[in-house]
Every structure is written in structure tokens, then in C-alpha cells.
């Protein structure tokens, strides 16, 4: 796969506030790349730089080998599915999709053929004459995708395209988007703050925070081998503990020594250790490597989510077996469940689950959708 887009040393700041800080990113042909991060991390700005709506202060945007920093959006082989779609309210479905072709003054017959093709691709045949303002969110979404794809762009940029949809529809559209990407072979650059979406759809995930790329990798890499405490915390649930690397494959956490698979650290180097909640086995107290008291149990359908107090540190553990609150339990952790990371600027920011509750998630959601 050859490099289609290269971002080299891109920086951008607004009113003295740095939004992007020397970003380097390569995007390959036919790839599904997701820019993932919390609101304000710089992901949308990155996308808009590729689209041509924002000019970077520093650095180069290279498209197919040519520098395109100063190329206006209408001359780029890139199209965008906008946040909340930006469908033209004065045009119907057909005319919205045909917009780019009309600009190119293609013959009517070809326009009609290609619009029809697009409508089939997004499963909206028969909606040609509908008023776009009266469509449901999901339908508007499809029109927006069709409109952006009709010009056969090399790259499709998607800015939180599913943000306005409800959960069920999101899941359906995720599958559909992935299908469309495979069918058309177009490079997708997808911006989201939803880690689940990122993991399930992408070939490559780019995790961003504070205007800096934290980690680039496949979804499994990102999940299994997070590079620092921020990535570990942002992607999935994780218990992040302070530890000391005693020697290769031997790490000390909470006063206990564990065998792990990581190496290459210095002797007695302080590290961050990640243990995913689903990788911990609940055993009888006397069989456990760690012992603690269950402080809360929440039924989640597939599993129970329990918070266990071990020497003052609250672990989150997901288990399919019921455990009573206040029970004494033991924890057993396999060596491959332990992931050791270097200390970073984020170390210590993500503590244990002592004040965690679902309500907090709810409050954070509306904030998270209004991006930058």
C-alpha cells in the first residue's frame, strides 16, 4: 500500500492556544483510519486540515506526493461527510447528491445514472424527490455519504458522522459504513470520540490528546499494548497501577511480585501497569495472588462488574460469576494479562475506580459531542 496522505510536522494554534503540536501522520491507500480522542484533542482540526478548511501554521500536507497546503477545498480529491451532515436545505435528495456533478456540467443522463447508483449504494432508492429536511437522521446521514462519494474522491473524510444518531442506528450505520468502504476501496479518515466505534471499524487507530498523537496502531495493538496511561484509560476499562520493574518479566505491584511478558526496562524502573478488568480471574481468597473485599457489584447483562478494594486501591473486575458485596475474594492474574508501560505525562492522572459511577459517564456525554 502506498502513502496517499502525509502530514509532516503540522502545528496549528488559535488565539495562542495550541490545538495541534507537530503532528506526523501517514495515511495509506484503501485504509480505514480513525482519529480518536476526547473533545478538544485536535482530531477535527486534523481532519479539516486534510479537507482544506484550515491552513496549518507549520508543516506540510502532502497528497499523492504533492504539497497541497494552499490548495482550496474545491480543488482537492477529498470529500467530507460533515458533522450533522450540512445537507443543502434548498435542494432535494437527488439534487444534493447530484450537486458536484452539476458543477462539473456532466450530461443529464450520466448524472441521473450516477445518482441512482449512489442511492442504491446507500440503500435510499426511491427517495430522489424527498425534501432533505424531512428525512430521519439516519437517512440524512446516507444522503451525506452519497453526496460526498459521487465525485469518486480518493479520500473520504468523516467528522463524527454518527454522533447525532441513537445507539441502535449507530451500530447499523457502523456496519454499513465499513461495507461501503470495502466496496468502494476509498480511503476513509474517520473522526470520533467513541472508542468502541474506532475499534470495531478501523484498520488503523490514531489516538490523540492535547494536540499530540499518542499512539498509532491496529485496534488490537491499541487495546492490548497501550503506550501510556492515557491510551489505556481512554480505550476500554483498565486498572492502572503504579509498579516497579524488578527485572525483565518480573514486576512488583501493590507489594506483590508478578510474572509478566514485558522486558527491556531498566532495573527497578518505576512503571505504569495496566490490567484489563476482563483479564482478572476471581478465585477463593486463599488461592489468589491478591486478596481484597468486594465493595460493589453491578449486573451488566453479559457479566457482573465488581469493584474490589485491595489495600486501598479499587480494582474493577468483570466476571461472569456472582460475588456477594463485602465478600473476601482472591484475584488471579495470568502473566499475559499484565501490560507494563513507561511512565508518561499522564501517569497518576488516572487513578482507581473509587469514585467511579455510571452517572459520571452520562454527564460527560453531552459535553463530548460538541467538538472543538
Amino acid at each position: 500500500m502506498n502513502k496517499l496522505i502525509e502530514l509532516k510536522g503540522i502545528s496549528k494554534s488559535y488565539d495562542g492556544e495550541t490545538v495541534l503540536n507537530h503532528i506526523d501522520l501517514d495515511i495509506h491507500d484503501h485504509e480505514f483510519v480513525t482519529l480518536l480522542g476526547p473533545s478538544g484533542c485536535g482530531k477535527t482540526t486534523t481532519l479539516r486540515i486534510i479537507g482544506g478548511f484550515v491552513t496549518p501554521d507549520e508543516g506540510d500536507v502532502i497528497f499523492d506526493g504533492a504539497r497541497i497546503n494552499d490548495l482550496p477545498p474545491y480543488k482537492r480529491h477529498v470529500n467530507t461527510v460533515f458533522q450533522k451532515y450540512a445537507l443543502f436545505p434548498h435542494l432535494n435528495v437527488y439534487e444534493n447528491i447530484a450537486f458536484a456533478l452539476r458543477l462539473a456540467r456532466l450530461p443529464e443522463a450520466e448524472i441521473s445514472r450516477r445518482v441512482k447508483e449512489m442511492l442504491e449504494l446507500v440503500a435510499l432508492s426511491g427517495f430522489e424527490r424527498k425534501n432533505v429536511n424531512l428525512l430521519s437522521g439516519g437517512q440524512q446521514q446516507r444522503v451525506a455519504i452519497a453526496r460526498a462519494l459521487i465525485n469518486k474522491p480518493r479520500v473520504l473524510l468523516l467528522d463524527e458522522p454518527l454522533g447525532a444518531l441513537d445507539l441502535k442506528l449507530r451500530k447499523d450505520m457502523q456496519n454499513e459504513l465499513k461495507k461501503i468502504q470495502t466496496q468502494t476501496g476509498i480511503t476513509f479518515i474517520y473522526v470520533t470520540h467513541d472508542q468502541e466505534e474506532a475499534l470495531s471499524m478501523s484498520d488503523t487507530v490514531v489516538v490523540m490528546q492535547n494536540g499530540v498523537i499518542q499512539q498509532i496502531g491496529s485496534p488490537t495493538d491499541i487495546y492490548n499494548e497501550p503506550i501510556n496511561a492515557f491510551v489505556a484509560d481512554f480505550i476500554g476499562e483498565s486498572n492502572i497501577l503504579e509498579g516497579v520493574m524488578l527485572e525483565d518479566k518480573l514486576v512488583s505491584i501493590s507489594g506483590q511480585t508478578f510474572t509478566c511478558l514485558d522486558g527491556g526496562f531498566e532495573k527497578n524502573q518505576p512503571v505504569d501497569v495496566v490490567v484489563r478488568p476482563e483479564d482478572v480471574d476471581v478465585v477463593k481468597p486463599e488461592e489468589g495472588m491478591l486478596r481484597g473485599t468486594v465493595s460493589s457489584v453491578t449486573f451488566k447483562g453479559v457479566h457482573y462488574e465488581i469493584i474490589v478494594d485491595i489495600g486501598g486501591f479499587k480494582w474493577m473486575i468483570q466476571t461472569t460469576d456472582y460475588v456477594a458485596p463485602d465478600a473476601q475474594i482472591g484475584l488471579y492474574i495470568e502473566p499475559d494479562a499484565i501490560h507494563v508501560m513507561n511512565k508518561s505525562e499522564f501517569s497518576g492522572q488516572f487513578g482507581d475506580y473509587s469514585s467511579f459511577s455510571d452517572e459520571m459517564d452520562d454527564i460527560s456525554n453531552p459535553d463530548a459531542t460538541e467538538e472543538e
Binding site: 484509560d233 488516572f350 487513578g351 475506580y353 469514585s355 467511579f356 459511577s357 459520571m360 459517564d361 454527564i363 460527560s364 453531552p366 459535553d367
Partner: protein, 284 residues
């Protein structure tokens, strides 16, 4: 493009302001001329304030503006509350259409239609003359009403619709709930409607013109009379004063509005900050 747009805007603004500048400038002219500026002087203003007739007219205009705006604000605010509550759709739209008529109709039609009504009443009751302060007052209230309603209705719609219910729940009678809870919430709209009404009333010529007799004059009518005779610069000084008055009202209403907006903004910011603090504290 940028330069072009700047130049264009400057030209249009020059066009819009040329007559105003001329007016203000010549109101300070020393000579009795509206085309040759000979020197700065306040004599036309002095003359203005020595003329009993002018002071009389000024008094008329202010009383009329205040009283008509006050009446229009009371009736209009109550009307806005009532109209918003109407459930019968045809009734609501009929009331709305009718109250907007003075806004849609040309002033001359509104003025004349009312003059006809008064003329007919005069004939009916065999009165000598009905035209004067009261007819002009009624006319002003009438054309002020739609503007008051228009500025109050959005505030009612913005108001949390559970607010009155909360008040009732806590023991307010409906009337108390209106004065203690709803009125403060829609007050910015009521005030800006009131100020708007004052400015319209101060400025109106056409409608007053058809609904008054020779005895009751407002400033615009007086000015109209002046432009029929040979004009001296005192007309400009009078207009400058009138303009200054309207300007003051506008600035006041703008201040009121931006003050209300700022408060709203602060509240929203505070809420957002609170929400953020909660999320950030979520996993410490």
C-alpha cells in the same frame, strides 16, 4: 475582494449618513441658511427653548409616547401571555393576524382607517370635534401593540414551561405565579417592547397626522408644518434633539438586552463548568 467590500460598505454608509451629518452640522449654523455654513452657534437651540409653542409640542410628544407605550405594554404583555396559551388554533392565528395588521398595512392606511372610525363616531354622537390627544393616543397604542407582543412572545417561548407549574406546586395562586415568577422571566422582553414602543411613538408622523386636529401637535407634525413654510435651521436643531432622544432610548434598550444576554451567558457558562468539573472528578 476585501478592499472592494470595504470601499462598498463605506460608500453605502456615506450615503446613509450624509443627510444626518448635514442636519446636525447645520443645526449649529450661525447664519439663517441651510446651505452655507458660516460659523458655529447655539442660537437655534436657544431660540427653540424660548419658543413656548415648541416646548408645548415637546411636552405633548413625550406624554403621548410614555402613555401610549405604557398602555400598549400592559395590554400587549397580557395579550402575549394569553395568545401563547390559546389552544384553539384558528383563534390563535386569527388574533395574531389581526394584531399584526398595523405592522403590515402601510401607515397611511392604518391612519386613515382610524380617522374614518373617529369621523363616524363624531357624526354619530353629533360631536363638534373628536380629534385631538385622545384619538392620537388610541392610534399610537394600536400601532405599538404588535411590536410589544412581538418582543414578549419569544421570551415566553424561551421560558422553562415548568416554571409556572413549579410556582403553583409551591403554593402560588395563578396570579401570584405570574407576577412573582413569570413576569421576572419575561421582563427583558417586556422592557425592550416598551422602549421600542416609545421610539416608534416619538417617530410617528403619518398616523398622528390623520388623527389629530390643528390644536394637538406632536413634534413630527410640527416639523411637517415647518417644512411647508420657509425653513430655518431651528427645524434641524429640533430634529437633532429628537434624534438624540431616540438614540438614547435605543442605547438603553441595547444595554438592557446585552445585560440580560450576559447574565444568561454567565449562567450557561457556570453550568458547563460545573458539568465539566464533575466529569473530570469522575475518576480521581
Amino acid at each position: 475582494m476585501k478592499i472592494l467590500s470595504r470601499v462598498y460598505m463605506a460608500l453605502i454608509f456615506l450615503f446613509l449618513y450624509a443627510p444626518l451629518i448635514i442636519m446636525v452640522l447645520f443645526s449649529f449654523n450661525e447664519a439663517n441658511s441651510l446651505s452655507n455654513f458660516t460659523g458655529f452657534s447655539l442660537k437655534w437651540y436657544e431660540e427653540l427653548f424660548q419658543s413656548e409653542e415648541v416646548l408645548d409640542v415637546l411636552y405633548n410628544t413625550l406624554i403621548l409616547a410614555l402613555l401610549s407605550s405604557l398602555i400598549a405594554t400592559v395590554i400587549g404583555t397580557a395579550a402575549a401571555v394569553g395568545i401563547e396559551k390559546m389552544r384553539t388554533r384558528w383563534l390563535k392565528s386569527t388574533v395574531n393576524t389581526i394584531s399584526n395588521m398595523p405592522m403590515m398595512n402601510p401607515d397611511i392606511v392604518t391612519g386613515i382607517s382610524m380617522a374614518l372610525l373617529f369621523a363616524f363616531a363624531m357624526k354619530l354622537f353629533n360631536m363638534e370635534s373628536i380629534f385631538g390627544f385622545w384619538t392620537v393616543l388610541i392610534a399610537h397604542v394600536t400601532f405599538n401593540l404588535p411590536y410589544v407582543i412581538l418582543s414578549v412572545v419569544p421570551k415566553i417561548r424561551q421560558m422553562d414551561r415548568y416554571l409556572p407549574e413549579a410556582a403553583l406546586d409551591l403554593g402560588c395562586t395563578p396570579l401570584q405565579s405570574f407576577f412573582k415568577v413569570e413576569l421576572p422571566a419575561i421582563l427583558p422582553g417586556v422592557l425592550s417592547g416598551f422602549v421600542m414602543a416609545i421610539t416608534l411613538s416619538l417617530d410617528d408622523f403619518v398616523i398622528s397626522y390623520f388623527n389629530t386636529d390643528g390644536d394637538f401637535q406632536t413634534l413630527p407634525i410640527y416639523i411637517f408644518g415647518m417644512t411647508k413654510r420657509t425653513v430655518t435651521p431651528d427645524i434641524y436643531s429640533l430634529s437633532t434633539l429628537l434624534f438624540a432622544g431616540v438614540l438614547l432610548m435605543l442605547i438603553l434598550s441595547n444595554l438592557l438586552q446585552s445585560h440580560a444576554e450576559k447574565k444568561e451567558q454567565q449562567r450557561a457558562n457556570a453550568m458547563r463548568r460545573q458539568a465539566r468539573r464533575k466529569t473530570e472528578g469522575g475518576r480521581k
